[in-house]
């Protein structure tokens, strides 16, 4: 990937409030997040010539560009597979800027999942494959689909609910430090976790991300341009997408090995094209729509061996000061679930040294997108 490595940087980040319910439309929230990110960078909207977003985003490029008075766009990209697309938006912009297709790119995500509709409740429009093989039997929601993998994972490797709790707790503890997080000042205890209601056994309430209204955005420019921006640049060191052979989406049950998902594919590419290895990562923002995804991702991205994701979480490993602090803003489980974009912005904050749960001296951060769907990842450094 010559020409890509550290050739571009994230120079601006922006976000709206996060809440169960926000009064403004998704479009208005998108506009606010994009303007905030541009302001953070010190770049005028008229200079933007590239946009990237991901599917299930209701506000399209035309709407954002015309509402904010952006310049002529010469690159725009929409990445598929929902939460798997988050990191790829930055990757596509970085590639576009590095190859001269654009000079100022903005990626964004706006979502009203706290107060808006959920796609799997729409039974009027029944999707064919793979829904025909699952939904009639009552496998209805993403939590049911991931719960199936989680049960098998726990059976096969001896992972326990305590391991899942370790994930939920690390995210909650960081959210307790982050005033912007929905779960700020709302501590979680083991007793609360173990006695909470089931959503889809073996997954309980606290294994699930938060339903959130909110929007975020970030700005990508060339390394050279970044020197003139307001903020310390955070370089895009490496990036990857991952759609493994014979992958089937959330219901990867028909793969030869359903417990090795897209993270493994993205990771192979990411590390191959990086000057860094998993041991060099100071802090990680790992997509956490559900707690088991973090165990699978820890294995996929090479922080531990196959089947060792549960054990890796023991002894406070995911906490500040632990072996690999994760989701330092609180993640999707406890800050906000905006399809993973808050993980990107949190990664940037860590490398600027401005996180509310700052890892001292953090200079490298892995950010990942949804595991369990065709995914993407970023390796950021300062």
């Amino acid at each position: 990937m010559a020409g890509f490595k550290d050739a571009t940087a994230v120079v601006g980040i922006g976000q709206t409030d996060f809440a169960k319910r926000l009064p403004e439309s998704e479009k208005a929230l998108a506009c606010r997040a994009v303007l905030a990110a541009l302001d953070d960078a010190g770049i005028a909207p008229g200079e933007v010539d590239a946009l990237a977003s991901y599917t299930m985003e209701e506000t399209d490029e035309v709407e954002v560009a015309k509402a904010l008075g952006l310049g002529d766009l010469t690159f725009f990209s929409k990445v598929g597979y929902g939460g798997g697309g988050s990191c790829a938006t930055v990757a596509h912009l970085a590639a576009a800027v590095a190859t001269g297709q654009a000079t100022v790119g903005v990626a964004w995500r706006s979502r009203k999942r706290g107060s808006g509709p959920r796609p799997w409740k729409n039974t009027a429009v029944q999707l064919p494959t793979p829904a025909q093989w699952t939904r009639p039997f009552g496998l209805l929601r993403p939590v049911d689909e991931i719960g199936m993998l989680a049960r098998r994972y726990m059976h096969q490797y001896g992972a326990s609910r305590d391991h899942l709790f370790n994930v939920a707790l690390a995210c909650r503890n960081r959210a307790n430090q982050n005033p912007a997080a929905i779960m700020y000042e709302r501590p979680l205890t083991r007793d609360m976790y173990m006695s909470s209601r089931w959503i889809s056994e073996p997954l309980c309430l606290f294994d699930n991300c938060l339903e959130t209204d909110g929007a975020l955005a970030c700005v990508v420019v060339s390394r050279e341009r970044a020197r003139d921006c307001r903020q310390r640049p955070v370089y895009v060191h490496a990036a990857a997408q991952g759609l493994p052979a014979q992958h089937h989406g959330m219901v990867n049950y028909w793969n030869d090995d359903p417990l090795t998902g897209p993270a493994w594919t993205a990771a192979r590419h990411l590390w191959k094209h990086a000057d860094l290895a998993p041991d060099d990562v100071d802090v990680a923002q790992i997509y956490d729509a559900f707690t088991p995804l973090i165990l699978l991702s820890l294995e996929g991205y090479g922080f531990c061996g196959r089947g060792e994701g549960g054990a890796f979480t023991e002894g406070g490993a995911l906490e500040t000061g632990g072996r690999l602090p994760v989701n330092t803003g609180g993640g999707g489980l406890s800050e906000a679930y905006v399809h993973g974009f808050n993980l990107i912005n949190e990664g940037v904050k860590q490398l600027r040294g401005t996180s509310t749960a700052q890892v001292p001296g953090a200079s490298t951060c892995l950010v990942t997108a949804g595991e369990g769907v065709p995914t993407s990842a970023l390796l950021l450094r300062n």
Binding site: L139, M148, S200
Partner: protein, 146 residues
Amino acid sequence: MSPETLPALLSPVPDEDGAPFWEYAARGELRVQACSDCGEPRFPPRPCCPHCRSFAGQWRRMSGKGRIWSYVVPHPPLLPAYAAHAPYNVILVELAEAPRIRLVGNLVAGPGAPLDSVPPERVRIGARVEAVFGGDGLPRWVLERS
């Protein structure tokens, strides 16, 4: 709610590739798509064999025997028809003749029995099961009588 007003469970919305599976199931047969050239079974159905790229396919009858590979027990919030049965089980069955083909289904007490007719504590990974067909044309599963 009385049975008359209770909304129905979701029916499969077959695509072109999947339609034969449901047509056979409606006749009480469990069949899986297989390549006519290299013989490899594949699921979900698709137009081309990923092993040998042949477009010639057939529908191979299965014994209906398998093992539970994993399962979940969904609780509300759920669509009303499913909430009425919750907590119920959803199992993933690895077919005896084709272990990498895993079908989503339900473990029930017998043909036509409701989703919650087997207590969740009786469901376990590795249990031997066999396919049964009730009136709705969907394959469901019972514990194999040993």
